[in-house]
């Protein structure tokens, strides 16, 4: 596969992860369990949307078809989005949202770090320098919450355990590669997610042990987002996300 095309495709998939998770977090705005979290959730959403914009913009340049961030965000159909199933899962309760964010941040922080130190692509190193710091913040914030909930009341522990049961089987997809990503890995632009796995597992094990949580066995890992096969929840998310552009095509602020 053409190198530029492969990298562009890979970055669109990564951008999709960030856009969709950012959108999910933004749904909390005005609904968080307390004021401080009502500030923190949109703040984290903002980080993710910023990272998505950087990824989409660069992917558009590489692709050379004149597509920009808005085209990727608003004008594609569900099958064209290649985000992980994990990030499109509904918010559920606060424990679900914190755990989903923790799983993702624990993966992305070392992923960006590896791009920063090893990527052959200068623009990506620039994007990664900023994003790595932001994701370190997300790990800390969500990791602390997982511990508070797991080591909290009977109710909070029950809820975070239910979140682990509901979400852990989506984490395997973090470590899968599409053909385009494999080509970008071989080219030295992106890290191999397999090398992230030990770091990710370490972070999860450390926080889970403090939170009295056990890592469940996953006999049937769920994946498919990277191929464009999504869960039902995704269609609802997309209709909300794209409503304005679909109703008033080409509208601008």
């Amino acid at each position: 596969m053409d190198k530029r095309k492969a990298l562009a495709e890979s970055l669109i998939a990564l951008g999709d992860d960030h856009l969709i998770l950012g959108h999910r977090l933004s749904e909390w705005c005005g609904h968080a369990p307390m004021l401080e979290e009502d500030l923190s959730l949109p703040n984290m959403a903002l980080d993710l949307l910023g990272q998505a914009r950087n990824l989409y913009t660069y992917a558009g340049e590489l692709e050379g078809k004149g597509r920009g961030e808005d085209d990727f965000a608003f004008l594609r159909t569900d099958r064209e989005y290649k985000n992980l199933l994990l990030v499109e899962r509904p918010n559920g309760d606060f424990a679900h949202t914190m755990l989903r964010q923790f799983y993702f941040a624990a993966f992305m922080e070392p992923y960006w770090q590896q791009i920063l130190s090893n990527s052959s692509d200068e623009t990506l190193r620039g994007i990664a320098g900023k994003a790595a710091k932001e994701m370190a913040y997300h790990i800390r914030h969500t990791g602390e919450w997982i511990i508070r909930l797991g080591d909290g009341t009977e109710e909070s522990a029950k809820r975070v355990r239910a979140a682990v049961d509901a979400l852990h089987h989506y984490t395997n997809e973090l470590f899968t590669l599409t053909d385009a990503m494999r080509s970008a890995v071989e080219d030295g632009a992106l890290p191999n997610p397999e090398t992230i796995k030990p770091i990710w597992s370490n972070t999860i094990e450390h926080v889970f042990s403090e939170a009295f949580l056990t890592i469940p066995d996953v006999p049937f890992p769920q994946q498919g987002g990277r191929e464009g096969h999504h869960t039902e929840a995704f269609g609802h998310l997309l209709s909300e996300l794209q409503y304005m552009q679909r109703t008033y095509p080409g509208m601008t602020w």
């Binding site: 903002l46 990272q51 914009r53 900023k130 932001e134 800390r140 990791g143 602390e144």
Partner: protein, 173 residues
Amino acid sequence: MVTALKRMDANSHDDAKARAWAAASAVPDPEVPCVTVADLGILRSVEIEDGIAVARVTPTYSGCPAVLAIELAIEAALLEAGFEACIERVMAPAWTTDWISDEGREKLHAYGIAPPVKGSAGGKLALFGETQVACPRCSSVKTRKISEFGSTACKAHYQCETCAEPFDYFKCI
């Protein structure tokens, strides 16, 4: 004669560069207006290239909603100072709070925002690890973090346990 002319060119070039820097660097940050874009280290450089003032800007956060406003304000300031202006967004190296000038730190403090604790940028803090932040009002170090995230992406929320006043902390990144 030729050398003298060249020197004059060089002089007027330096002069233009200084005027352009003066105009661009005076632009206040839209969210923390007590400091300028130069104080924060967001404005990396202003060069005169082919008669155009080129300002290079590095965003604080990937999703900072003020980036566009900052770029437009710098462009407007340069236009007002009589320059044709061009703004370039520079992503690498990534902005760090270590780039905030000493003057900027003093201005933040006077405004009631605790400046980032020096030298703590870049390092990863342990879970529940807290940086000791001094209260910008009474200077007590008996403070506690209320929220990792404050009123803008770049700030965390703290409270002083001595004077009980809540305050913003410009977090280290």
